[in-house]
């Protein structure tokens, strides 16, 4: 059974998501983009959660490579799944915004391309874990390190290279009426992230216990 904190966090997150459209609708329109800018309130928190999941996976992978504890490996695998999940939201909501704002679905610029590379790296990580067979944990941990190293490049890419993507100054420069729904969604995504990662780690723990029991029964 899961601890009580997970259902509580999940219910709080889902309730916040249910109310979020009201606050987002109340937020003022951005002057040049209009209605489509409101995709931002889900797109940016999802991107931040993707980065958080990437760092969690990377740091847990380092811990696993150094100490070899199964708990670190379970956390890394759980975080990699969340990187892919939030990456899907980012990589679909972004082009939906771009089609209206830029007139194209996709641009092969630094920010978009590096985000896609990050998503592909963590998809590769999961495929490696799923089909790599025994002993691929360390190899997957190495892939996670490459993925984590990609994050600073993605974040700074809009400031360093010429790109159509909005810069990192957008969030700090939000007007107070836009700031509240943005941080509301951030908290909702963070609660969801914590509930999902705890549940996914729990699943890995139970799977390991089951594998151990089955191995003992066989041998």
């Amino acid at each position: 059974m899961l601890t009580r904190s997970v259902p509580a966090m999940l219910m709080a997150a889902l309730a916040m998501f249910a109310v979020a459209p009201y606050f987002i609708a109340q937020a003022p329109y951005e002057s040049t983009m209009g209605l489509v800018q409101k995709i931002f309130y889900f797109h940016v928190p999802a991107a931040i959660m993707m980065f958080l999941a990437t760092f969690t996976c990377g740091i847990a992978s380092v811990a696993y490579l150094v100490r070899g504890k199964a708990g670190s490996d379970r956390l890394a695998e759980a975080a990699a799944e969340l990187t892919v999940l939030f990456g899907i939201i980012v990589l679909i909501s972004g082009p939906l915004w771009a089609r209206k704002a830029w007139g194209v679905w996709w641009q092969w610029d630094a920010r978009l391309t590096s985000t896609l590379v990050l998503w592909l790296l963590f998809s590769a990580y999961l495929l490696l874990r799923r089909f790599g067979g025994p002993g691929t944990e360390k190899l997957a941990a190495g892939v996670a390190l490459f993925g984590m190293a990609n994050v600073p490049f993605i974040y700074w890419s809009v400031n360093v290279w010429r790109t159509m993507h909005p810069k990192t100054t957008v969030v700090p420069s939000l007007v107070p009426e836009m700031r509240f729904p943005f941080y509301w969604c951030m908290v909702a995504f963070l609660l969801l992230f914590m509930a999902l990662i705890k549940t996914r780690v729990r699943l890995a723990e139970q799977q390991d216990s089951l594998d151990l029991l089955l191995a003992e029964a066989e041998g």
Partner: protein, 102 residues
């Protein structure tokens, strides 16, 4: 004829041949020089709310699709996770019961 003149003639000949050999590229790469100016080109900027209706791209479907994708992805993952956890916990209970019975 000096060697410099001869060299200049050869260069000019090569340039003429290259120019004649690549008319489609030139035609595709440059816009027609004498194209009649449109009103948009003269005004340089047309505010989005003054565009004709058939040139406007409505924002609402993109916004709804983005939120639907986010909600859908989260709910599908949540259901998959819940089902996987339920299945593993049921298998674990069965395995523990059979281990205790032995």
């Amino acid at each position: 004829m000096s060697i410099v003149n001869r060299f200049a003639r050869i260069i000019a000949l090569v340039l003429i041949l290259l120019g004649n050999g690549a008319p489609p590229v030139v035609a595709q790469g440059t816009p027609p020089a004498q194209a009649p100016p449109t009103s948009a080109a003269q005004d340089e900027y047309v505010p989005i709310d003054q565009l004709p209706e058939n040139e406007k791209l409505p924002a609402a479907p993109f916004l709804i699709a983005a939120y639907a994708v986010a909600w859908g992805a989260i709910l599908i993952y949540l259901l998959m996770l819940w089902r996987r956890l339920g299945r593993v916990e049921a298998d674990l209970r069965d395995a523990r019961r059979s281990a205790a019975g032995r």
